[in-house]
């Protein structure tokens, strides 16, 4: 291991304290020392848990970002109520540099009944000519398609369709708050009947269980909006900062749609994103203590080694070894444990991530919590994403903490005077 065996060229050139540090951790012709194994394992477990936890948190963040952007665009324009002149606003936003597409939307809640079974989903009205430039709905339609959607049809989310037993080609009755208001005024009340022409699935439990899509005109009819809409969803060119773009859009809208305000997806969801980041930071902070605890174990083991090897340390001094080189020998042992443990931890962590869904499946089957996982965590599969910055932070923390663990023993070893160490005889 480490190329320090007999006669390797690396071993020949190594300074004595590097060579001895490696040999004390990985001696020639002997079994892997227990101290080395336990120390490396401690660091590796800490790194593995950090990799898995931070990756899963990163995966949640990325999935949430994907869902927000896929359903709302990079920037959303709202007017506080209704956007009175959507055509002028659309034209203004379209001219903003970096805008790849813009589409109007109207939203609300309706009562939907299929064969007498009522549900109360959120409803989105979309402009069929523009929506695909902003929101990739086609990607999520599992059965049927957007091409079949017209003013007399509807697309249901998968779990909602399953819950009410609705099938393609079936008809649902949709009742809006406006119709209920008319009912209160003793007017004739006729729910809108729409044909199911598609079923979509985004992968987010809340959206998949409680959303329906209709054309913008249907939604405007149901809510009595006339030509107005609730807002615009904007898609930006790849790489453009949504906050910068939203400022440009606000400038463009200031004359044509006073009162309308564009917000990036980050700004619109900043509280939620802050909580997610806070959770991620807390998990990192707590799990890094596993490495700290293992570092204490490394310190304690190396301190014992300093005491046990007092005479050898004295001999090295007698042979001409300088105190700083003796210190380096012990400090390096901490560094080597840190590096080896980190590499092992990365391997274990990425291995665990690779098999994460299998492990979660086994765990949920054993505990009977499959449905709970989907219900509470929104995702059918455990997402994972490790940002390069997070990976760097984990590696640096692990190696630095382990190296620091060697400092105290190194200091003790450097302070030993050869004559006193040899007098121990």
């Amino acid at each position: 291991m480490f190329g320090v065996g007999r006669g390797t060229s690396a071993a020949k050139r190594m300074p004595w304290y590097v060579y001895l540090a490696l040999k004390q951790l990985f001696p020639s012709g002997r079994r892997f020392p227990f101290f080395t194994l336990i120390s490396i394992l401690g660091v590796a477990l800490g790194v593995m848990l950090l990799i898995v936890s931070i990756s899963v948190m990163g995966g949640f963040q990325r999935e949430i970002r994907r869902m927000i952007v896929d359903t709302q665009g990079d920037v959303q324009v709202r007017a506080g109520g209704l956007l009175a002149s959507p055509e002028a606003a659309l034209a203004a936003v379209d001219t903003v540099p970096g805008v790849a597409g813009v589409t109007p939307f109207a939203e609300g809640v309706v009562m939907l009944a299929y064969q007498g079974r009522p549900v109360f989903p959120a409803i989105q009205g979309v402009d069929l000519d523009r929506v695909n430039r902003v929101v990739p709905l086609d990607r999520y339609v599992r059965v049927g398609g957007l091409d079949y959607l017209d003013d007399d049809s509807i697309i249901l989310s998968s779990q909602l369709a399953q819950a009410i037993g609705a099938r393609m080609g079936g008809r649902v009755e949709v009742t809006s708050p406006l119709l209920l208001e008319r009912l209160n005024q003793n007017e004739v009340f006729l729910p809108r009947e729409l044909e199911i022409v598609g079923i979509f699935e985004i992968g987010h439990q809340q959206l998949d269980s409680n959303t329906v899509i209709v054309t913008l005109r249907t939604m405007q009819d149901l809510y009595g909006l006339g030509p107005t809409v609730h807002g615009l969803n904007v898609k930006l060119d790849e790489g453009l900062d949504p906050d910068v773009a939203s400022r440009r859009i606000n400038a463009a809208l200031s004359e044509v749609a006073p009162g309308a305000y564009a917000r990036s997806w980050m700004e619109a969801n900043q509280d939620f994103l802050f909580v997610l980041q806070l959770e991620k930071n807390l998990i990192f902070f707590l799990l890094v203590f596993i490495i700290v605890v293992s570092a204490f174990s490394v310190t304690s083991s190396l301190l014992i080694a300093v005491v046990r090897k007092t005479r050898e340390i004295g001999l090295l001094g007698a042979l001409g070894g300088r105190p700083r080189e003796v210190a380096a020998c012990f400090c390096l042992q901490g560094l080597i444990i840190g590096l080896t443990g980190t590499v092992a931890g990365l391997g274990l962590g990425f291995g665990a991530l690779h098999f994460r869904n299998d492990m979660v499946r086994v765990f949920t089957q054993l505990t009977g919590s499959e449905e709970a996982l989907v219900r509470f965590y929104q995702f059918a599969n455990l997402p994972a994403h490790l940002a390069p910055g997070d990976l760097r932070l984990i590696v640096v923390c692990s190696v630095v903490i382990s190296t620091l663990a060697g400092l105290l023993p190194a200091w003790r070893a450097a302070r030993l005077k050869p004559v006193e160490a040899l007098r121990n005889e």
């Binding site: 001895l20 001696p27 012709g29 001999l315 300088r322 040899l422 007098r423």
Partner: protein, 218 residues
């Protein structure tokens, strides 16, 4: 007359003992010529090892002067080049084999070339361990370990060898073999030897036999 390899003049050393100071060395004078062998005997606690540590530059005398080859530089790097040491308890590093233990003396001076390795192998061969170069200390007998320690002490071709009870942990026959080796190699390489021992027979084999008494050499 040429400059002695080792020259100690009026070396004094004392240690605190309760509220008094225990005077261990009270003005030791010693000069050792190149290739000369000198033995020092004395009762336990007479200060033999203390003197050896002072001569090795591992400890600082309270008074007096120490010169190696006429120079007062007795720092760690000079020590590594100038002298070799053999101890009663061998002090081999258990994690590395015999060859690497010998090489360690050179490695500390940055000597890691093929020629250094060849020298270490040749020294192990000279001490009769040609076939045991890759054995760990735990796989060697006491006599073999001390031979490795002798080879290590000679690795940097020192001018002076200090041996502190080198046969103290060995049986009589093995001790004799180690002494034969030590004296033979020192004579062959013209290395001066200062031998601290309790054994009168071994002391008698040196060119000069001194006794430590009341903190002085007689």
């Amino acid at each position: 007359m040429s400059e002695p390899v080792l020259s100690a003049r009026d070396l004094c050393k004392s240690y605190p003992s309760g509220d008094r100071r225990l005077e261990v060395l009270r003005g030791v004078d010693l000069a050792v010529a190149a290739g000369e062998s000198v033995s020092i005997r004395g009762e336990s606690g007479s200060g033999k090892s203390t003197l050896l540590h002072l001569l090795a530059g591992l400890d600082v005398p309270d008074a007096g002067e120490l010169r190696w080859d006429g120079s007062t530089d007795t720092g760690a790097v000079r020590r590594a080049r100038f002298l070799g040491m053999v101890f009663q308890s061998f002090y081999l590093i258990p994690e590395i084999d015999a060859l690497q233990n010998v090489l360690m003396a050179g490695r500390i001076l940055g000597r890691t070339r093929a020629a250094d390795r060849a020298r270490a192998e040749a020294l192990l061969s000279k001490v009769g361990l040609a076939g045991r170069t890759h054995h760990l200390p735990a796989q060697l007998s006491g006599g073999e370990r001390q031979r490795v320690a002798v080879a290590r002490a000679l690795m940097n071709a020192p001018k002076l060898l200090l041996a502190d009870e080198p046969t103290g942990n060995l049986d009589e026959r093995t001790g004799e073999a180690v002494m034969d080796l030590l004296l033979g190699l020192c004579a062959e390489t013209q290395t001066a030897l200062v031998l601290v021992t309790h054994n009168a027979a071994f002391a008698g084999r040196c060119q000069r036999a001194l006794t430590m008494h009341a903190g002085r050499l007689e």
